[in-house]
Structures are given as C-alpha cells and as structure tokens.
Symmetry: C2
Subunit: 435 residues, 2 copies
C-alpha cells in the first residue's frame, strides 16, 4: 500500500478561479479587499424553506485547501497559470474572515448564507469548493427535513448510498442526520461523523439460503431476536409467520420493501398481533419520498427506510447557491445586464418573530460604516454567526449535534402553512434593506 499526504482540496476548483487570480496578481487588483456572498435567488420548486447544510464541511475543506508539489506541478505542466501565480499559490492559506448561517438554520431567497471577506486573491479561489459542498449538502438537508416532518416522530433511516456517488453518499448521510434522520446505512458516515449506523439484510441473504426459514435462522443466530427480518422475498404472509416462528414474539421488526406498503403494513400488524408479536415493529422501504411517507401516517408503520429520494434531493438535487462578489474596497458592486442582477454590498440578516415565537420575516440589510442597522425587537435575532477570523476557526463552533438541535427548534418557528409539503410561497418573506 502506498503512502500519500492528506488529500489537498485545492484542485477541486474551476480553472477560471486561478486564471482570474493570475490576471489580478499581474495588475495588482488581487490585493483589493473584497466581500463575496453565498446566496440563492430562489428556493427549488415547491419548497417553502431551505436548510443550510455543509458549513462544517466547508471549514474542514478550507483547512486542506493547500497547494502542494503535486498540485503545483499539474498547474505548471498544463500552463494554467504563470510562474508568479504558482509562487503565490505555494504559500497560500486563507487568512480572511467568514461569517455565515450555521448548519441547521433555515434560509430563504436572498439570505446571506456565507460572507467571505479577504483579498480578492484569497477569496476568489474558494468559490468552487464552497459552492460544491453547500449546494450538495443543503439540497439533501432540505429534502431530508421535509421527510422528517412527514415521518412525524417515527424512526427514519437513510439508506441511499447505492444511488449516488460514493463520496456524496457519505455527505448525504451527514446531511440527513443533521435534518433529523435516526441513522444511516453508510459505514463511512458512521466512522467520519459518528452517526449511528443501521442495517441487517437484503433479499440476497434469503435467496442465498435453501429456504427462507434457514435464512431467518442464520440472521437471528448472528444478530439476535431483536433484528429486523426482511419478509417480502417470496410471500409476505408466509414470511411473517416464519419470522415469528424462528425469532419468537421478541422479534425486533419486520421490513417490507415492495408492494402497496400501506395495505401490507396493516395486514402485517394484524398478523403480528394475532401471533402475539405485539411489540414487533414494522419498517417499510422502497422508493419512499416525503409524500409517500406522509401518506403512510395513518398506517401502523414504525419506521421508514429512505434511499433514492433522499440522496437526489427529492427533485431538487442542487440548492443552486451562487458565490458573488458584492463589495470591493468598501464599494458595493453588482452585475447589471439582465434578470440575474444581484444586490451589491456586504449584507447580514435578522429573523423577526412574533411574541409567540413564530417567524415573520427575514430582513437582509447592508452592513457598512454609517449604514443603519435594523432595530432588533425582543423576539428577533441575528442569523449569521462568525466562523473564521484571520483564517482560524472561532471557538465553540456548533457540532453536528448542535446543528441537529438547531434545525429542530427552527422548524417549530415556521408558520404552519410553511410546513405544508405542497407547492407555495416561501414560509416567510425576505425583506431587503440594502443599498
């Protein structure tokens, strides 16, 4: 086995970041103080709120954004940038300021999700990496939050690794846990982020054996009677009968992975109860999304396994966030040729709430010397928190568990219409007090 350095994230970057750097180093503009802002112009179709995911991974990735010999050699060999730029990259380490919405925070169109301040040079090179992480993780977190709401307190397990890129799978498991999922099937997510893992058997295990009974016996011998037996390889009624016969009435759960799972869950509950397995839980899986989960609310389902819909963002596989230059040496800047106009100037946000705690509006305001800051009412709060100061993490950054709690609390503040799964306006409006 060969030995390598900790992987650098520096080439997970679009070439134009580095050619812009080269051009700006040459004419001296690279050293201008800039503010870049991450935001999204709109929520995906049908969504009432977004959920910030990935900020913690962004901070890790920035720490490993270093140009080592391997990275510099590649850039030199391809002539991507000139010698002066290579020299600059050799010593690169981000030393600027980053503030942002913490993970698990809700967001709305125009929310200033991440504010990166530094020289043009050090801030521009982070664009691709920051957006890759936040666009992916926020897409998954946003879909996951709707599924968790729909599951209404029942257990919900992420099992989508097989349907997405092998590393996206790990990040998706993290984002799902952040959003309130109970566990993941992905072992690497368990190792890397300490997320609880789960999983027992697929149909292959039953097919491997000479009979369903032998498969169930093998699984119970290995994993105990508290395991979950998959009962739909052949005939479900026969499968449940066998499962209880093999494991006894202490059987942990049965899983149904196909068919009309609502009807089948009701039949399974009756059958389990009639066999005395009244505490045996029923887990359903198989192409579930937030709508299917919600439709099963009235059924005797104790847990859900969710795969494809989760890891593909349930119709919105990217959060469509952008990273835009909004200020140069204190001067607001903005593109202005088309419908894609942006609002210039460094911004922050306050979320206003009623006395009852229900959110009312997202106020996005211009941060500048002399600019008026909105008055903070007794139930309002600033949404951004400091993340990096002079390139170093601030103390006491939220953990993944903190972020999970944050989202849980944030969802309680959403007006009830905003929690509907159906299409509609954002749960609260964004109000701009900007230049």
């Amino acid at each position: 086995m060969t030995v390598a350095s900790t992987p650098s994230t520096a080439l997970l970057t679009d070439q134009y970041e580095l050619t812009m750097l080269a051009g700006a180093l040459r004419d001296g503009t690279a050293h201008r103080e800039c503010t870049f802002e991450v935001f999204t112009r709109r929520l995906p179709y049908g969504r009432r709120y977004g959920v910030v995911g990935g900020t913690g991974r962004v901070l890790d990735a920035i720490e490993n954004f270093r140009f080592g010999a391997a990275e510099l050699d590649k850039l030199a060999a391809d002539g991507v940038v000139d010698e002066a730029t290579l020299e600059w990259l050799r010593d690169f380490r981000f030393q600027g300021q980053i503030d942002g919405y913490p993970e698990g925070e809700l967001f709305f169109p125009g929310s200033p999700l991440l504010t990166v301040r530094g020289t043009f040079a050090e801030a521009v090179v982070l664009e691709t990496l920051v957006l890759s992480i936040m666009n992916h993780d926020s897409a998954i977190a946003g879909a996951a939050a709707r599924m968790v709401s729909a599951a209404n307190g029942r257990r919900i397990i992420e099992m989508g690794s097989r349907r997405t890129h092998e590393e996206s799978a790990v990040a998706a498991a993290r984002a799902a846990y952040l959003a309130g999922f109970t566990a993941t099937s992905n072992l690497e997510a368990g190792r890397r982020y300490g997320i609880p893992t789960a999983g027992t058997a697929a149909h292959a295990f039953t097919l491997l054996h000479d009979s369903e009974r032998e498969a169930f016996e093998a699984q119970v011998a290995s994993l105990g009677t508290g395991t979950t037996l998959l009962v739909d390889t052949y005939d479900i009624t026969r499968g449940i009968e066998l499962a209880v016969d093999v494991a006894g009435t202490d059987l942990g759960a049965v899983r149904i992975d196909s068919g009309d799972v609502g009807v089948l869950a009701r039949q399974a509950r009756e059958q389990l109860d009639s066999l005395g397995a009244t505490r045996t839980r029923i887990v359903v899986s198989g192409d579930l999304d937030e709508y299917a989960i919600a439709a099963l609310r009235a059924e005797p389902v104790d847990g859900y396994g969710v795969g494809t819909a989760l890891v593909t963002g349930s119709g919105a596989p990217t959060a469509e966030m952008v990273y835009k230059l909004v200020e140069v040496d204190g001067r607001p800047v903005a593109k202005r040729s088309s419908h894609k106009e942006s609002r210039g100037g460094r911004k922050a946000a306050i979320r206003r709430h009623k006395e009852t705690g229900t959110a009312v509006e997202e106020v996005v305001y211009h941060v500048a010397p002399g600019a008026a800051e909105p008055v903070l009412g007794p139930h309002d709060r600033f949404v951004q928190i400091p993340l990096l100061r002079d390139g170093k993490r601030v103390d006491d950054l939220p953990t993944l568990e903190d972020s999970r709690q944050r989202l849980r609390h944030a969802l309680v503040t959403v007006p009830w219409e905003g929690l509907k799964l159906s299409d509609g306006e954002p749960a609260i409006p964004t109000v701009f007090h900007t230049a």
Copy 2:
C-alpha cells in the same frame, strides 16, 4: 501536514452487506458460489438509451477495497460484526470474476451491465460501492450524451462543479468527457484523468476592476488575445465593442452567460463581423440543458458551457441500477413477491444489427452449461467484455479515450427515432431468452 495511507474504499458500504456476511460466515453459506448482476429495470423518463459510465472507476475502487486497521477498529468498536467476520475481512481481497458492458456502451432495460461471480462473501460486500459509482457516472454519461448529440459537433464544455458534491464533480467531468464533451472546468479531473481543462473569467473579475476595459486589458495581458472575454457584466453591446477594442480582431471568443442567448448570439455575431472580428467565436452558457442546446442549433453559437443540468443528470440524477443475486451454486434464484421481480440466472447479451449497421435488438440470454446460446449473426456482437479474472484486471482494458470512441460509434448504430430528445420507447427492444 499529517500522513495517511491511500484511502480505503471499504467503508463506502452499507452496513447490511457486512451483517449478511457475518450471518453467512456463521452458517457456511458464505462460501457458496454466487453470481450477482447489475441491471436497471427501466430507463429514466424520456430516455431512449442509457450510457454505461463508471466501470473503470469501479475497477480502481475494488483494488482499494481493503480493510485496514482503521476500518476494522471502527467495525469492532461499534459491534457491527463478530470477531470471525473481522478476521475474514482482514485478509479480504476480491478474487472473483467480473464481466461487464464497457464504458461508453449503450444499455437498455434489463441489459446485464456487470456480472460479478465469486463466493457470496466476496461478491456481496461490493454491492454498495459498485452501485454508487455506476449509478452516478452512468446518470451523468446518459445526460451528457444527449447534450453532445444536441450540440451537433460544436464544442461543449463541462462547468458544473459548483452545483454538485466536490468529488461527484470530478467523476461528472470524467463521465461528460467520456460522452464527448470537449473539456471541463474541473482541475482535479484534469489531473486525475488527463481531461483537457478550460476556463478564463467570471463576472467577479470584471466587477473587481474599476472599469470593464481595465478588466479586459488585465485578462488579455495574462491570457493573450486568444482568450474568451465575458461580455455580459454590464451592457453586452458595449462589452463586445470594448472586447474587440482591447484584444483586436484576433480575440478568441466572447461568452454570453445570461438573457435570451439565441437572440444575443445573433446580435453578437453581426456586431463582431461588423467590427472585423469574423473569426471570434461566440460561447454561450447559463442554465443550458440538452433542449436549450438543441434550440440554439440555428444560431451562430460556436460553443456551449453546461453546468447544473449536466451534473444533476438533467432530470435523472441516478441511473437506478440494482445489484441482484441471480445464481447460487449454479441454481438460478429470484425474488418473486411483487412487481419488482427479477430474472434469475447468469446472463449475457448480444446486440443484433441490420446489414446497414443499425441496431435492432438487445438479446439477453441465460448463460449455463447446456443452455442454448443465441446464434450470432454476421452483424451481431457480444456486448459484455471480461474485466477481472481471479480478481486481476485482464490485459488491454479500454482506456477513457477508447470508451469515448466506443460511445461515438455506438450512437451511430442507434435507429434515428432513438436519437430524438423527446419522450418515447427505448431505441431498441430488449428480448429475453432466459430461464
């Protein structure tokens, strides 16, 4: 900087693969000779063919599928499997046989895309990793092939890294290149796979400068007059005028990233020609998908930049492939409780063609001692190729360039209705000669 081993892929795995392994080791069934098959039950909505992507990455990942101390410690600490299973995993190295559709090959519902033969133990543990890679890469390759067809020979650059997970981005660039894209913005894809990279500047570069003129001057000084200038930060007509004034009539290209790019391209062509910049190319970007690309066929567009739609599979972010146990000790096996039924038995495929070379049908047949093999006509061919023998790569596996050529040739064989972008049946039917 800390030093680590080459990353193991072994925990990019669903927990149930290892609990099945544990159960099967305990009762001895782990050593049964098994065949697993990767296939897809249907094509995504609207698609006439699929494109195999990821096979090359699968072979790399299997090579690194080793359980080192770090992986085993994690499994032991969490009690995922017992001591005997840990011992078995410690020495694990896949030593079986893999045959499959090469990358760049077309596929249809039921095509046997990968056939993995070995003991249950060694084959079951690969499920998650194999599917993650193939589902992602084939989803991107399938979307990319439609975009390349729509571009009809014009240059098409992949620039979607910012809209997907940072590692998916690298794999997406590879899949896009496989499908005929000209280049990628992703530098890591350039390093890892030797794909040509491209990119010059974003709007931020213009906004950084005190004027558009200064920005263009800086870019031309750094990248030469052959560069691509982004002309839509402020007013496009003024931008083009400035671009030619700064770079001269040898200016390589202008890029338009917003607005009605068809109309704007026509105006830009007239303006460039009137300024004498008749060889300056026009590149368009901004939320393009295969339909938008096709709609621009009649416009004077010389190249496309494609982002979000490419990396999200243009509506089909996963290929929905499954990995199913189809044979145990020579006996076909299949789940049979529902609409998700599978066809048991090891299979291979022949693609039949007319004398003209046009594909006619995909014949999927049962491979078994004594089973009849379909007669190979003069224009027919076997679709699978051997990939691993006794765990080792066979000689002369196709390179990425080979696979790119393969797809180019395969698309020529598709009946003309099968190349339409609109919804419809698969381009050719799949005919099953199975047990």
